[in-house]
Amino acid sequence: MSDIHFNESIILVDLEAKTKEEVLTAMGENLQKLGLVKESFTPAIIAREGEFATGLPTKGVSVAIPHTDVEHVITKTISFAVLKDPVEFGVMGDPEETTPVKVVFMLAMDQAHDQLSLLQRLMQVFQDEDTLNYLANEKEAVKIKNLLAEKLDFAFEGGE
């Protein structure tokens, strides 16, 4: 778990976007700028979202977990965004439905099948209404980072 890139640079607060494509582009280009993903990542994640939607209605605010194949990733990370206004995403496994997404966890994984415990902890966050509501309303990236680091149990290397 220590090799995951996780600091304020991958946290976007008050992201303004009208469509899911705009959300994915802003998040993907940020990761590319940071050298964490390849140029192919953003188009791949947009294409995948169109084909297999990742919006999840929860008991709290709706979330989305866009992700794509490992070949587009350079360094493993989970980018997080709070949207200024909710954006409609398709519902996972339900092509006809959409859900107003407020928080987005963009998974940039560098190995398939190797992050079960991380993903399980992420799913626990989705099932925790209070945490989701806090994340959806927090404006300070550092506070979001600290909370997610605690909830996802990241081991930090090199501080931040």
């Binding site: 992050q115 993903l119 099932q127």
Partner: protein, 92 residues
């Protein structure tokens, strides 16, 4: 032993979680299952051998085995119903 396909769009994120949940469930109930984690596009090559498909991705195709939607494993909403459906299939 039942062969259960666990599939999502990429075969990487959500199927990993669902796979873990079914593994745990099978253990609790002393059931042996052959879990195969795949991308939804790979289901076709297992059509002849699988007993069940559990997936977070949509599928419009018809298969000769039951298909169970596993989104509840991610959101927690309705997860007990989904577990029961899967268990019923495993015990058939």
């Amino acid at each position: 032993m039942k062969k259960v396909l666990v599939a999502c769009g990429a075969g990487i994120a959500t199927s990993t979680v669902v796979n873990g949940a079914i593994e745990e469930m099978a253990k609790e109930n002393n059931l042996k299952v052959d879990l195969v984690q795949i991308k939804i596009t790979e289901v076709g090559s297992h059509v002849d051998s699988a007993d069940l498909l559990v997936t977070t991705a949509m599928t419009k195709k018809e298969y000769p085995f039951p298909v169970i939607n596993a989104r509840s494993f991610l959101t927690g909403i309705g997860v007990e119903d989904t577990k029961k459906q899967i268990l019923d299939e495993l015990q058939k």
